[in-house]
């Protein structure tokens, strides 16, 4: 399984996930890294959780589907997505594995001129994302909900996209660090804003990770006042200095 998350903020939507794909039976499981957040077709961002072949089948059909664009009414898009997923599930080769697949799909709805995101479940249900939404391994979803609960004083609707990225990253990495089985690896992220989509590359994730660390460090300073600075170290300093 996996963990996928969506958050709607003031000026966009963020989709995020872990990057671990787990295969095999219990006790003989193998994990490897895989991409779970990407742009399957122009204007749409997608994150998937569940069986990879089922997800791939859905994505391939979604890529090829005609007449779906951010200009389409969002309710029509929702119906089309359900139809595509139903088609995938009719495939006998994925029978038994298609019961636990979930998607988060986000786009900038042109008719409504606002960001929208849909959580699509294989059972035929779907939920529009209003603030936070999660999918994937039940224990992971539980931990992620708890992580968000610890930040309930932050209203995602009041955050800018950049601020929401940091909050989403903190939630994802805190959840990954709890070590839930089937969830792991680096955080992946993509954003939908009015000007377009962006899948955040790993090089850019580094700056975001540092921002979260900085945020946490500043929280500590807020509570404790100034914390120990690097110059206060007891380690003998053998550093160089320029001549006077």
């Amino acid at each position: 399984m996996t963990l996928i998350a969506a958050v709607r903020c003031r000026d966009g939507v963020i989709l995020g996930s872990d990057s671990q794909e787990t295969r095999g039976e219990r006790g003989r499981r193998l994990a490897r890294s895989t991409r779970k957040v990407y742009e399957p077709r122009r204007g749409f961002l997608l994150a998937w959780a569940g069986a990879q072949d089922v997800a791939q089948g859905f994505v391939l059909r979604f890529e090829r589907a005609r007449g779906i664009s951010p200009n389409t009414d969002r309710l029509d898009i929702k119906d089309r997505l359900h139809t595509i997923l139903d088609d995938v599930r009719k495939d006998a080769s994925v029978e038994g594995r298609s019961d636990n697949v979930e998607f988060l799909i986000a786009w900038w709805s042109r008719p409504e001129n606002k960001p929208v995101a849909l959580r699509l479940l294989s059972g035929g249900a779907s939920v529009w994302v209003s603030d936070w939404e999660f999918g994937g391994a039940p224990l992971g979803v539980e931990r992620a909900s708890f992580a968000v609960g610890t930040m309930r004083y932050i209203d995602p609707g009041a955050l800018t996209l950049e601020q929401a990225k940091i909050v989403a990253l903190k939630m994802l990495r805190d959840t990954i660090e709890t070590g839930v089985e089937g969830i792991g690896g680096r955080v992946q992220m993509g954003v939908v804003r009015e000007s377009g989509l962006e899948v955040v590359e790993q090089a850019d994730m580094r700056g975001l990770q540092d921002t979260v660390d900085l945020w946490e460090s500043r929280c500590i300073e807020l509570l404790l006042g100034r914390t120990a600075s690097p110059s206060g170290s007891k380690t003998p300093d053998r550093g160089v200095r320029p001549p006077n």
């Binding site: 700056g207 660390d213 500043r218 160089v240 200095r241």
Partner: protein
């Protein structure tokens, strides 16, 4: 099989000698190769002030403040953009990684953080001495002294103080900061 080989244009001895000697003059004018951005980064790491190393934020802020110094040569300055935590240069991340790969810095993990501290070692200090000599040869000792003062400052300050100072002095680099200023 037929290979189309583009004929190499013959160059005269004087042309080749001219190019080679120009490069040589450029390299030796300052007593070796010219100090580059990453040399200043390494010197910053080698200076006393933080024997256990510094986090990437302090490297970013330190080298940013150095880029604003009067004596810092243009070619030694990293290019910064306003980012989530103020001025940031992706090249600093890249150069820190390279310095670690080359054994000139040690990466030390920090409990509870994703970032690592970059710690100087004996090799760092030895290289630092060489770079100081080079700075002297290039008549850049004043810039080296400014960098030293910056290292002392950023190593002494907490994150809140450091960020507030940078945001106050260079508000144009705080425009994309996700942290709202307290005043």
């Amino acid at each position: 099989m037929y290979f189309c080989i583009r004929p190499v244009r013959a160059r005269g001895f004087h042309y080749v000698w001219g190019v080679a000697s120009r490069g040589l003059r450029l390299r030796t004018r300052f007593g070796g190769r010219i100090m580059k951005q990453r040399d200043w980064l390494l010197l910053f790491a080698a200076y006393e002030g933080a024997p256990d190393g510094l986090d990437p934020i302090r490297f970013q802020k330190g080298l940013f403040l150095f880029a604003k110094c009067a004596h810092a040569p243009e070619r030694s300055k990293y290019v910064f953009k306003p980012y989530d935590y103020g001025p940031m240069s992706p090249s600093i991340y890249r150069d820190l990684d390279r310095l670690v790969d080359e054994g000139l810095l040690e990466r030390v993990s920090v409990p509870g953080k994703q970032w690592s501290r970059y710690k100087p070692s004996r090799v760092t200090f030895r290289e630092g001495q060489k770079l100081l000599k080079q700075a002297e040869d290039e008549k850049l000792l004043e810039a080296a002294r400014e960098l030293f003062e910056i290292k002392k400052d950023v190593s002494r300050m907490g994150f809140n103080e450091l960020l507030e100072r940078v945001y106050a002095d260079y508000p144009e680099f705080a425009v994309n900061s996700i942290f709202r200023r307290s005043a």
